[in-house]
Amino acid sequence: MGDWSSEIISHIDREHIISLLNKGERSDGRALDEFRPIEIEVGVVPAKAEGSALVRLGDTSVVAGVKVLVGDPFPDSPDEGFVMVTAEMSPMASPLFDIGPPREDAIELARVVDRGVRESETVDIKKLCIEHGKYVYSVFADVYPLEYDGNLIDASSIAVNAALATTRFPEMKVEDDTLVETGNILSIPLTNTAVEVTIAKIGTYLVVDPILKEEMVQDTRLTIAVDENENMTAMQKGGGTGPLTLDEIDQSMGIAIKRSHDIISAIKDAAKTIK
């Protein structure tokens, strides 16, 4: 998902992609600022996860699941719950992914998706407090890629948002110093939604939602998290060391804002199917 510049891509594949871009085309027929079709299926782990979603972005697919646990608050934030996103690059998803402890790019994936959720203050963590200083809800959203054909970040961001939006968990309260269920079912207190849009820079071209072969020839990529108010809530330049001009960053934000509308409404539509 990140930097495949060390992987061998044949000169023919590389030149083919670039010669197409010179004609304003991409190898899968999309426009430069066009996303692949997004499919979101929610509630795929209904018996064990409090929220879940399977997302397909062309031939990339990921599954995300949410667990809501009760835990101790951090000492410096006694009245706040917390949200954490993790992701791993399971070797199931691609012949390029290694077995073993997560490499830098897997950690980057998890952290970038995590920042997209956290920095937008998607979740009102104050509302995740059960009892000040004692009990809070901790929300874990974990992502597993199933098929990797480029742009894991955006697919993961969509999956995490869809899983969070459809999470349902029993409300807890403290009674006689013990935790009991109130009988109510809660949703995650979402105040905003931010989705990540990744733009690859190939030569002088900016292409959104790159497929694997495009990632292999990209000079760099820029991931931009855009929220419902068209604010940027997180950014990450990665996937190669090529520089970006100010103008390219501005153009990328333009593309990201445009695409974020469709993505956010796709997530909201999918979330409606869970009561």
């Binding site: 061998i8 044949s10 023919i12 594949d13 590389r14 030149e15 083919h16 197409l20 004609k23 085309e25």
Partner: protein, 320 residues
């Protein structure tokens, strides 16, 4: 003596195919006088030989195979070539270059270059060895690569090249079909190139169905008519491919057998490699994939330096 499958039946591993005096061949195994399938594939009886043509599987090299690969490593006098499958192939400079050649062979071909080559030796312990001495064996430039399942390649070629020749004639493209599932195509017209990709993907998806050549032909003709209709003023230029262009300073050292004028050589249909067509036309010559009953070991060329010199060596002087 009994046969337990019908003609062209899709069988699966463990399925009983025959009992009695049958010879188990490719894709099958024998146990206590019974022949079973070892793979998902199409069962076939020829004489008393039972075989299963696999519908899936990674590329396993065979001597004489025409393959297309990407150079991934340059190591001493060898290029390591990714041709798919479990074993990285070796191409020794002696099997690609005219002597004397520079010690630094990356001057001629390097990482990322795509070549067409022939498998000259293979056993499963030392990996395949390639040669570029022969017709149509060279560094490939321009165009694009299409990857399909190696198990579907015979269908892309067709009986004595019928499928690939039909596609090439209709679209007037250049195409090399590697037994390892890589197809190289080149056309000046982007739309035509896309159409070729569509045809190959269609063959891959429908490989186990009948009348495929006719259906591919129909699809292409309809699509061509549409392209022509939509750009009546600007007819797509499909003739006069530039595939034969060579810049001597860059490629002059790469052997093209016999020093033929490379251009004229490339025009005919031999691009699918004569060896392949032969193998395709005579399925009996195939070796069993699963050789339980006749586990014949080939002599391994364990030392790369022992690869016999290609006899085309003497002709190389003519090249220039």
């Amino acid at each position: 003596m009994a046969i337990f499958f019908s003609k062209r039946e899709i069988v699966i591993p463990g399925q009983l195919l025959a009992e009695g005096r049958f010879r188990p061949s490719m894709g099958t195994y024998e146990q206590e006088g019974k022949v079973y399938s070892a793979v998902v594939g199409l069962a076939e009886l020829r004489g008393n030989t039972v075989k299963v043509v696999p519908l899936q599987g990674v590329y396993i090299p065979r001597e004489g195979d025409f393959v297309i690969g990407t150079i991934t490593v340059v190591a001493g006098n060898n290029w390591k070539v990714d041709i798919g499958g479990p074993y990285l192939a070796s191409l020794h400079a002696n099997n690609a270059l005219r002597r004397p050649y520079d010690d630094d062979i990356s001057r001629y071909m390097s990482t990322g270059d795509v070549i067409s080559a022939e498998v000259i030796a293979f056993d499963r312990n030392t990996g395949p060895f390639l040669s570029m001495k022969g017709r149509g064996l060279r560094k490939l430039e321009g165009g694009m690569l299409v990857k399909i399942s190696p198990a579907k390649i015979p269908r892309v070629i067709g009986l004595r090249g019928s499928m690939i020749n039909m596609i090439k004639d209709l679209l007037r493209i250049h195409a090399f079909v590697g037994q390892n599932g890589i197809i190289w195509i080149r056309s000046r017209d982007l739309e035509i190139q896309k159409l070729a990709v569509k045809a190959f993907k269609m063959i891959e998806a429908e490989a186990h169905t009948s009348n495929l050549t006719d259906r591919v032909n129909e699809m292409l003709k309809n699509a061509l008519a549409e392209i022509k209709g939509s750009s009546s003023s600007e007819k797509p230029e499909v003739k006069g491919d530039d595939v034969t262009e060579r810049s001597p300073d860059e490629k002059g050292a790469i052997v093209s057998e016999g020093g033929d004028v490379p251009g004229s050589d490339m025009e005919d249909t031999s691009e699918t490699s004569p060896e392949n067509e032969e193998a395709v036309a005579t399925p009996e010559s195939e070796e069993p994939v699963v050789e339980l009953e006749t586990s014949e070991e080939k002599d391994g060329t364990s030392d790369e330096l022992e690869i016999p010199e290609n006899e085309s060596e003497s002709k190389e002087v003519n090249e220039e």
